[in-house]
Amino acid sequence: MIIWDVIAAFAGSFLTLSVLSMLWKDNPCFKFGQQGIIGIVIANSVLVNMKSLLDTGIRPLVAGRITLIVPLVFGVLLYTRLSKEYAWLSKYPTSMMVGVGTGVMIMGTLRGQVIDQVKKTILDVFTATDAMGTFNGILILIGTVSSIAFWIFTKEHTGGLGIVSKIGRVYLMISLGANWAGEHVWYLTQVLARLAFVYDNLIMKVLLGQG
């Protein structure tokens, strides 16, 4: 084992345990770990973004791609927001970004997220090759229609609409439950993997000399 592995094991374990120490209470170790991590992430982000600006903007411009002056000037104008007097200038690049972003997005939204999804929801019921597939298709069709009905607010949720929207609410709750469960398992993975790091690298390798 080389000295860098030992340093990495100690530093990594210390940072892990210092962040987890928040479970006990706020303390200087937690603050050090938290602020250290934020500092490293920001430093990396600034450096990588500067490199990106150099590689994709400034170097090609110097090499002769004159048109790149336009996005670069627009980019600089965004910083005028820092001045009260010239903040209005930042509205031009902001408007351009909103306009281009919306235009680019709309193109695929209708086809990819509305038409194709609706088509598939309906067709799945009739094109399924087995009973289970048909059953799934029907469940999804009911879920889609009832969940949309839940968001109809121009009519009071009574009678038929009331029943359908209640079914929709159940579907939405199941969907949120699945989402939350996924998130919970993600956090659990993070915790166990960090503890595994401490166990493998600090306890087993460095302190016990195994592995």
Partner: protein, 284 residues
């Protein structure tokens, strides 16, 4: 008097179960399989099989584009996916172009596929940089940047990550947009990002798409599968499935083992909370 009785009954006690016992149980159950591995079985799901087949069924020499969004913050959740996927790719004759849409992407890639140091070291598979794979580095792309890549990669990246002009890289000679790409692997950590790829790659370019993402993003990806999405991996669990399917054992198996046990105190806590809630409502 009645209120005091309510405070002491079993339903109230179940609902006020001290949460610290749950955390303690969780930590104990994390360490048990860490010390004594259990080797619990893992069932491989259809999205994982389809994801794997999408990679290995491509003809030799096909071009795979990778829109990489891996960061260190969620690496533990996705390490198994990355390692198993890159090992699978390096085991085939695919050509790979990788670009990053998050600033930590290049550093994560160095950790996973760095030459000589990576967990899925391309040198071990005989892969040559510039001939078998190219790293374009990071650009703050967003959805608009993805569109630019589909039409003209060189408009976003005139050089690779190491500063070599793309025109001087042999593999990039005939690659400049979606028309030259056979499969897109999109990796992201923000659940709605899948919509970028559907809108910019799948709809206009008819691009076959596979994705890797966090466990919590599966409900956002599932509506597109099967159909617009060929296969997907969400979370470390499906990363483990890919390890099994591809025959590349890695960190996922152990993580899944531990998760299977460590989740039990949380399930018990949920169960007790629900029993308490129903008890208070119907049994009093």
């Amino acid at each position: 008097m009645y209120e005091e009785e309510k405070k002491d009954d079993i339903w109230e006690k179940l609902g006020n179960f001290d949460v610290r016992w749950m955390f303690l149980g969780c930590i104990v159950l994390i360490f048990v399989p860490m010390i004594w591995p259990l080797g619990l079985p893992t069932i491989v799901s259809q999205p994982t099989k389809d994801y794997y087949n999408a990679l290995v069924d491509l003809p030799p020499g096909s071009i795979l584009a990778v829109s990489f969004g891996g960061g260190f913050g969620a690496l533990d959740e996705r390490e198994a996916q990355f390692i198993a996927t890159f090992k699978t790719i390096f085991s085939t004759d695919l050509k790979m172009v990788i670009y990053c849409q998050v600033s930590e992407g290049p550093a994560v890639l160095e950790y996973i596929i760095g030459e000589g140091t990576g967990l899925a070291d391309p040198l071990k598979y005989g892969k040559v940089y510039g001939e078998d794979y190219v790293r374009l580095g990071y650009a703050p792309l967003g959805e608009v940047g993805e569109t630019a890549i589909t039409t003209n990669i060189r408009s976003m990246f005139s050089t690779d990550y190491y500063g070599t002009p793309l025109d001087n890289i042999p593999m990039m000679e005939n690659i400049n947009g979606a028309d030259d790409i056979d499969l897109l692997w999109a990796d992201y950590g923000a659940c709605t990002t899948i919509e970028w790829y559907i809108r910019q790659w799948v709809v206009p370019e008819q691009m076959p798409l596979i994705i890797t993402t966090l466990g919590c993003c599966a409900p956002m990806a599932a509506p597109y599968y099967p159909g617009q999405l060929i296969g997907f991996l969400s979370g470390s669990g499906m990363g483990t499935e890919l390890e099994i399917t591809s025959g590349n054992p890695g960190p996922g198996a152990r993580t899944s083992d531990i998760k299977n046990l460590a989740i039990l105190p949380f399930l018990l806590y949920l169960l007790l909370g629900n029993i308490s809630s129903f008890g208070k409502k119907y049994m009093r």
